[in-house]
Amino acid sequence: MFISKLRISGFKSFCEDTTITISSGLNGIIGPNGSGKSNIVEAIKWVMGENSSKSLRGSGMNDLIFSGSASKASKNIALVSITIEVTKNLLEDNYKKFLKDNIIQVERQAVRDSGSTYRINGKEVKAKDIQFLFADFSSGSRSSNIIDQGSVGNLVLQKPIERRKVLDEAA
């Protein structure tokens, strides 16, 4: 199963409702410093369940909602949604009910000064359901499949006891 589409609206610098198609192979994200490339990476982490301030560079949910610019007013809602194409037999039974035409759409929405809510194909679910869904896919926001900016050398710098996490996730 793989992500085929990403939609970002009101999340960090993405004031505008933005959709990115993710094709097979290598999808390059380019642009000047501060344009929003790493914000896209964080949007994907966030919709898959990430909450850590360190991993999202913010210090609370409100930091993730578009806070306005010189020419635009702030927003009150941040929305990120990913469309995942799934082969039916790879999905656990309790998630098969969500499957529509081999597609699972996962959505997370944050409202300013309120919490965030998750939806799978439009139906509201708990954070735990999202965790299990992605644990299933052996990825998820904490999986070793996302290498953050500046952290490529980390595996070499870590202590052996921290590095073994790579082994545990693969086993």
Binding site: L26, I30, G36, I44, G153, A171
Partner: protein, 162 residues
């Protein structure tokens, strides 16, 4: 599941040694379980010697060598599993031109072999040239991000706008 961890260890170790040799055009590297005889408790150590150099403390490696060795290990975990997406944010930043080239060729092979989709954030023109699709992120209106799909030949002008 001691055996599961040992199997994962052997598989990743073989892939890691192989990918390291590819990225460094030689040299030698392998993994070791350390600090405990129990594979469920042991730490994971890297033993690395770039071509022509002796096996030394990891801390003495250069910035680029650390990144390249890390990438060999990262790719050996990508290869052995399929995931909804693999994301690399500016991992080519510490690499010289020759090593960016080697990294890109390996990345292309990993995509073919493992069927994984990659999102690759980069400022590097060589890396851009290896992509199947390119998305340019701009802030024409200050503070507000917009995405533009870019043709690979247009990439030159996008990075000129950087």
């Amino acid at each position: 599941s001691r055996s599961r961890v040992l199997n994962a260890f052997n598989e990743i170790n073989n892939t890691f040694s192989f990918l390291f040799k590819k990225l460094f055009s030689g040299g030698k590297a392998y993994l070791e379980l350390v600090d405990s005889s129990d594979p469920l408790q042991a730490g994971l150590e890297l033993m690395v010697s770039p071509p022509g150099k002796k096996l030394q403390r990891l801390s003495l490696l250069s910035g680029g060598e650390k990144a390249l060795a890390s990438l060999a290990l990262i790719f050996s975990t990508f290869i052995n599993k399929t995931s909804p997406i693999c994301i690399l944010d500016e991992v080519d930043a510490p690499l010289d031109e020759g090593n960016v080239e080697k990294f890109c060729e390996l990345l292309k092979e990993v995509t073919n072999v493992s069927n994984n989709r990659f999102l690759v954030v980069t400022h590097n023109k060589i890396t851009m040239g290896f992509m199947n699709k390119l998305y340019g992120i701009t802030m024409l209106e200050p503070g507000s991000s917009k995405v533009v799909s870019v043709n690979l030949d247009e990439a030159e002008s996008v990075s000129a706008a950087e």
